[in-house]
């Protein structure tokens, strides 16, 4: 894993993801991925009413002993708490919070009104974003757009939007000299479930709070060993945070995202189970801008399944994802330049290596599911019936939409009935830019090398519909003087006796050639029709084949057998 420790300042105002967010900025100071420190007992202990009973049922050993010792502190003033939020509120820097086995609904937070606190519902009503412009357009969102809570809002009313909030930067109201957007208190917090496994601690949202856990300018936050569910937006959210780690956590049943980081750096997602999210299981969006010199966020040993998308990342830059499984989603992995307001556009420089990306044919866009989602409010839905937030081409393993200089290397990509991988151009207008400087600034220099296509790790043939699909566009790095390095494919291998399949039939090799190609207009236009999708009013747009699951491709019999 290559994690860099410093990042050059890059600040851009932002609206984010599927929900408006305040303007966000990359951290512009050195940082590190936090490590777990267990040398001292936890500073604070969070206890459920039945923790003792649950601990009694734990397997004998060190973990049970540690939990039992911690249990003795539940009623000690200043050490024992009934909610995670109360423990966070009491914590200082570099503290360790243990959550004993139990279910935590954080009831006081659920009673906090959307605009304020329990004591003063109007406290934060005026703390909204000031006027901002979408970069490059001159369009002033401040006069026409949605006013969104700013950082001061989150600091002063942490539970208005969040079940549990870790908000670490002092505001200028607290210290007029503090304008650095850098964590001051509640930095380096470790919050760890103290059960045998992540099944023993459940943090349960109420489906109304946007985020179950929000880490906002909370540098060094380390979350470990619990299960989390039922956010209205993100189960776990890291924003403007330099140094974060999500370790051994199950996230399920989020309305949109399981784990999401945005304008954050020095992060690690590891040993996660992310499933049944309406958008994606993991979302490293607006990733750090190292421009291929380093990777700032790593994702490893993640099992992301039964979501609309296993992994997505608009402006998902500087991410290294390896040794993960993305399967049984509608689409396995996407990274893109589809939307506006994401710092770091256009997307570039992610790497996927040694992942298994398979069986992403989960049709969440069927007529039955459309009807169910139309007729059933989120609060009333069966959590195992995912209602997609956005549209994706069902049956796609990995999709790069408007990305540059990405590496897809040594992965196992099989049983995706549409395409193993898909690569296409996205115009600057998609991110709210005019494109006058470079109208073809996406989709160049992406390398797909050494992947095993249409074959399982045990050697069984399990074909993709088409291994590689490309719209045939190759953009400019600098317009008009420097075409981008050609998107290229090399050393990819099919199942024994099979042939690689691609559209177009012939793909460029990786010899470093630079060239501009305008692309196949019919392929590009076909994608445009899918933009008209609406889950309530236009579920099957003419011209768009994304929502019709291709039939399962049959393995071709080997001539050698």
């Amino acid at each position: 894993m290559a994690i860099a420790t410093a990042l050059v300042a890059l600040a851009a105002p932002a609206f984010a993801m599927g929900h408006a967010e305040r303007p966000a900025y990359f951290p512009d100071y050195p940082g590190t991925v936090p490590t777990l420190d267990t040398s001292d007992p936890p500073d604070r202990v969070v206890c459920a009413s039945d923790s003792a009973q649950r601990i009694a049922g734990m397997a004998e050993g060190d973990r049970k002993n540690a939990a039992g010792t911690a249990l003795g502190r539940c009623n000690v003033s200043g050490e024992g708490y009934q909610t995670v939020q109360d423990a966070v509120n009491a914590a200082g820097n570099d503290e360790r919070i243990a959550i004993l086995p139990g279910v935590y609904t954080e009831e006081p937070s659920t009673k906090t009104p959307p605009e304020g606190t329990r004591d003063d519902p109007d406290k934060c009503s005026g703390m909204k974003s000031e006027a901002e412009a979408i970069p490059g357009t001159g369009i002033d969102l401040g006069t026409e757009g949605e006013q969104v809570p700013n950082y001061e809002f989150q600091r002063n009313c942490p539970n208005a939007q969040n079940l549990i909030a870790i908000v670490g930067d002092k505001t200028t109201a607290e210290d007029p000299r503090d304008t650095d957007r850098k964590c001051d208190d509640k930095c380096g917090l470790q919050i760890e479930g103290f059960g045998d496994s992540r099944d023993d601690v459940l943090i349960q949202g109420d489906k109304r709070k946007l985020n179950v856990i929000r880490a906002d300018r909370a540098d060094g936050v380390y979350l470990k060993n619990f299960t989390i569910e039922f956010s209205d937006f993100n189960n776990i959210y890291a924003l403007e945070t330099n140094g974060f780690r999500f370790d051994d956590i199950e996230s399920r049943y989020s309305r949109e995202y399981g784990f999401l980081s945005f304008t954050s750096d020095n992060g690690l997602y590891e040993d996660l189970d992310a499933h049944h999210a309406g958008d994606s299981g993991v979302y490293p969006g607006s990733g750090p801008e190292y421009h291929c010199a380093a990777y700032g966020i790593a994702i490893k040993n993640v099992d992301s399944h039964d979501n609309t998308i296993g992994y997505s990342g608009t402006a998902g830059n500087g991410v290294y994802a390896h040794d993960n499984r993305f399967h049984d989603n509608a689409a396995g992995v996407t990274t893109d330049s589809f939307a506006s307001g994401h710092p770091g556009m256009p997307q570039d420089c992610a790497k996927w290596s040694n992942n298994r990306i398979y069986s992403n044919n989960n049709n969440l866009f069927s007529d039955d599911r459309d009807r169910y989602c139309q007729q059933t409010a989120y609060e009333d839905r069966d959590p195992n019936k995912v209602c997609p937030t956005f549209q994706v081409p069902v049956g796609t393993g990995l999709l790069i939409g408007g990305g540059n200089k990405n590496f897809v290397k040594d992965n196992w990509i099989y049983d995706n009935w549409r395409n193993g991988t898909s690569l296409f151009y996205v115009p600057p207008a998609a991110r709210g830019e005019t494109g006058e400087g470079n109208p073809w600034d996406t989709s160049y220099g992406n390398e797909q090398e050494g992947n095993r296509m249409g074959i399982r790790p045990d050697g069984t043939s399990d074909p993709n519909g088409v291994d590689f699909w490309w719209d045939e566009e190759n953009g400019y790095e600098q317009f008009p003087t420097q075409p981008g390095v050609l998107n290229c494919w090399t050393d990819n291998r099919p199942a024994r006796g099979a042939k690689l399949t691609s559209d177009p039939v012939t793909l460029p090799g990786c010899d470093g050639t630079r060239a501009f190609r305008p692309g196949n207009p019919a392929k590009i236009a076909s994608q445009a029709t899918c933009a008209t999708w609406d889950p309530e009013t236009n579920t099957d747009p003419p011209g768009c084949d994304w929502f019709r699951v291709p039939s399962e491709p049959k393995p071709k019999k080997s001539a050698n057998r």
Binding site: F15, G18, H19, A20, I134, T137, I139, L141, E144, G145, E146, E256, D279, F338, A339, S340, G341, T389, F390, Q391, G401, F424, Y425, V426, P427, A429, A430, R431, G432, P521, A522, I524, A525, S526, Q527, A528, T529, C530, A531, T532, W533, D534, P535, E536, N538, P541, P542, G543, C544, D545, R548
Partner: protein, 136 residues
């Protein structure tokens, strides 16, 4: 407003070059029309995609989707969670609104599903004008 008959461009907007009309692979009943609209007038043209209608020779409407894009884009907000008033900037970015200055152009993709026995559309109408559908 022009109704019936293919004819030429009527109104402020013209096709810039010849638009592409094709049947997408795997969707034999569907048609996609893709091109760029040029504003030949002296004033800015604001046009909502939903104001465009496809009509056949007899002036009957064909149900269609129109969007001022040539490639895929998705919304900042999920379709079911948009704010009460979506900013014009977002409508423009997602192809639901075109704001075309004089001498400038905007991309357009229109798609429809042909019904058995129904005549093909021949014109694309908008408030104040119409454009021919190639082959119509």
């Amino acid at each position: 407003m022009a109704c019936g008959g293919a004819g030429g461009d009527v109104g402020q907007l013209k096709w810039q070059g010849r638009p592409l009309l094709f049947t997408p692979r795997g969707l034999p009943k569907d048609r996609i029309l893709s091109g760029h609209l040029r504003n030949d007038s002296l004033r800015r043209v604001d046009l909502e995609a939903r104001q465009l209608t496809l009509v056949d020779k007899a002036g009957r409407r064909t149900r269609a989707n129109a969007i001022f894009l040539t490639g895929f884009v998705h919304g900042l907000y999920p379709p079911t969670r948009e704010p009460g008033r979506v900013p014009d900037s977002e409508l423009i970015r997602t192809g639901r609104l075109a704001r075309i200055l004089p001498e400038k152009s905007a991309p357009l993709t229109v798609s429809w599903r042909s019904r058995g026995g129904q005549p093909s559309p021949v014109r694309l109408e908008y408030p104040g004008g119409s454009l021919p559908v190639p082959g119509g």
